[in-house]
């Protein structure tokens, strides 16, 4: 018998205040006022005046590093960070050691996620064996494993070979899968360190041109159209990419696209200080690109925000820029960045946030139905996956205070708006009073 929660005065999707009753894993009642009389003994009442309730967030792009780099993140620490950031499901990228390119590895990740209990962990399967871009991995076996993989990606590397990409796009149709492409033309980005432009020319770091991303997106949307497949574009970062996706959607091509929180707010100007915390792939772009991805997200061209949470060891960031690893953490700052850049600026409503951070990613990952459905509306009878956010709170980010095992946040020292107060996974609190509930892992 799980705890019953009564959430008083929350604003579902930022709307009018209501009381919500969470019982036996589902949302049981939504009413203006729910009387405590008649509720089960032990019902926990949460006074949530002014807090915004959103469906539990779903991340389509997380690096949990396990197996292989448990020194930087484990499935336990990464999913705990996810819960702290308001997530109830994450897709764990395949570039682990060993690579998640077999049913065995994806099932291991899936089980470890289930045992940790913080969020639902959905492994992403590699497109090619060993991410080598040469031979298709056993996509079907992964799809039919206990992990029920639907998203396939060589993320970190681009599926560059057009024939391999075509075959993957075609093959995953058999189980309604999707190929999530890391769009990076490899020859145009050999040795690349940062966005190619005015700043790279001045600071002398080798450029990663926008065209290297855009050329692959252009090719892939045309391939998807040709074979009638579904394509997902990971972390698009340039104004040109937004234009291409807009064009493809206008043509009826079945493409979805994601943007990361950091590409919504940070620019390549940050490379001037040579601080590797700002080294990421795709690289931080220009202000014009930031403006374009914000606009694309607001008008629906970009379907989702995904974190690309990429924990790294200290020594891989405490060094020369060229020697440093690409990537930044993001699970615990994503919602705040979206609030700051999209909600507080009037570009989006909280309902839009629910769409781009929960509904759409769950639908793209095909985890929006079934027993463990995610990204569902906040309605009676739906699974009680939700997050309570205090939009009026302001916090100063401190990497050392975060739940993730790594400290490579680009927002260290930044003041960000909004704070996750509570997260519920199928009616069970994973975060309360802004802190992870310590009994989560042990409860299993």
């Amino acid at each position: 018998m799980s705890t019953t929660y009564l959430l008083r005065g929350v604003r579902p999707l930022g709307g009018d205040p209501a009381d919500l009753l969470l019982q036996d894993g589902a949302i049981r009642r939504i009413e203006d006022t729910i009387d405590t009389d008649g509720l089960p003994e032990g019902t926990v009442v949460i006074e949530a005046d002014g807090l915004v309730a959103l469906p539990g967030l779903v991340d389509l792009h997380t690096h949990l590093r396990e197996p292989g780099r448990e020194d930087t993140e484990t499935i336990a620490s990464g999913t705990r960070a996810a819960a702290a950031g308001g997530f109830t499901a994450v897709h764990a990228m395949a570039n682990t050691t060993p690579v998640a390119d077999t049913a065995g590895v994806v099932e291991q990740v899936w089980r470890l996620g289930r045992d940790a209990g913080w969020v639902d962990v959905h492994p992403v399967g590699a497109v090619s064996v060993g991410l080598a871009g040469e031979q298709l991995a056993e996509l079907g076996a992964m799809a039919h494993s206990a992990a029920r993989v639907r998203v396939f990606s060589d993320d970190g590397k681009c599926v560059w070979d057009p024939v391999l990409m075509r075959r993957a796009l075609e093959y995953v149709k058999a189980f309604d899968g999707v190929v999530a492409q890391h769009a990076q033309e490899p020859r145009l980005t050999e040795g690349a360190q940062m966005n190619e432009g005015v700043v790279s020319a001045e600071v002398g770091l080798q450029g990663w041109p926008a065209v290297a991303e855009e050329a692959i997106i252009a090719r892939d949307v045309l391939l998807a159209e040709h074979v009638g497949s579904r394509l997902h574009v990971c972390h698009l970062s340039t104004a040109g990419s937004v234009e291409l996706v807009r064009w493809a959607k206008g043509r009826g091509i079945d493409v979805t696209a994601e943007v990361t929180p950091h590409h919504l707010i940070l620019t390549d100007e940050l490379a001037r200080g040579y601080d590797p915390r700002f080294k990421v792939n795709p690289p931080l772009r220009t202000q014009a690109d930031v403006d374009a991805v914000r606009e694309g997200l607001a008008d629906g061209t970009i379907d989702i925000v995904a974190t690309d949470h990429a924990p790294h060891a200290r020594e891989d960031k405490d060094c020369e820029w060229a020697a440093a690893a690409f990537g930044m953490t993001g699970l615990e700052t994503a919602l705040s960045v979206v609030q700051q850049t999209m909600v507080d600026t009037g570009r989006m409503t909280w309902a839009d946030v629910a769409r781009v951070m929960s509904t759409n990613p769950a639908r793209i990952g095909r985890i929006d139905t079934g027993e463990h459905a995610q990204g569902r509306p906040l309605e009676v009878g739906e699974p009680a996956n939700l997050v309570l956010v205090d939009p009026a709170a302001v916090r100063t980010v401190d990497g050392a205070q975060q739940q993730t095992a790594s400290v490579n946040t680009p927002f260290a020292g930044h003041e960000l708006p909004g704070r996750v107060v509570a997260t519920f996974l199928r009616g069970r609190a994973t975060v309360l009073d802004g802190a992870p509930v310590e009994t989560v892992g042990a409860a299993r």
């Binding site: 790279s200 600071v203 020369e320 060229a322 020697a323």
Partner: protein
Amino acid sequence: MKHLLSTADLSRADAVHVLDTAAEMAATQSREIKKLPTLRGRTVVNLFFEDSTRTRISFETAAKRLSADVINFSAKGSSVSKGESLKDTALTLQAMGADAVVCRHQASGAPHLLAHAGWLDAAVVNAGDGTHQHPTQALLDAFTLRRHLVGGAQGPTAGSGSDLAGLHVAVVGDVLHSRVARSNVSLLTTLGARVTLVAPPTLVPVGVEAWPCDVSYDFDGTLADGKPDAVMMLRVQRERMSGGGGFFPSPLEYSRAYGLDARRLATLPDHAIVMHPGPMNRGLEISADAADSPRAVIVEQVANGVAVRMAVLYLLLEGNR
């Protein structure tokens, strides 16, 4: 001035002050006793992650002429991916009590990191980082330009107090990979000179439009119309430049379009000088006629390098301790 990392950090007054100080340093170098007691008891570490015998010797000579103790720390094995980290190296130098660290590194920004990461208290001099900056090279180039082209006088202190207003300098060659070009563009323009970069389009960085200079793909046109007071030839790395996916079709085609040869030399104004940061590829970017002509000040650039580096070490290490 606590560090010298980029010429972009220097104001006109700063730059003129460095050049004037270098002029006085140069004047002492014609004496029988060249050594000055100025930095007695100070320790200068030459931290070279990349081979550059000429730059290291120049800094070493400068430091020794000022009586500093010099430690040469060749960390060539410590490439960015293996060996001791930059951080541990910096902590080691800190423990040894280095007063100044002269850093040459293949990674752009490494000296910036040394100066600002909090590992080290020493003054940091950038002796060339990746494709970013080589500020003492640009200062010695500016010093050489001033000595020859400003004030009409001769001798080490010619042009003292002046900038390079009104001069036109053509910088020719591999701008894309050149820290010398970047340092010179900002320094020479800060000092009032006009700079034209001349290179094939493949060797000009995307983003160059934000630089305070002109860009030309036409060397002959620049010589004919621009009448440059100085032509600075950049080193072109023959092996990595041509061939499959290279930056130009062949060394021969490069020399024909962008090499300084006897014919082009003859079109220069009478007073114009020829510069090269060295080491030269004779027959590629510069012909023997040009390199050995009386207009070439290439060997003098080397001598001026010592005076400029003495000035930089002096200005960084005296005071504020």
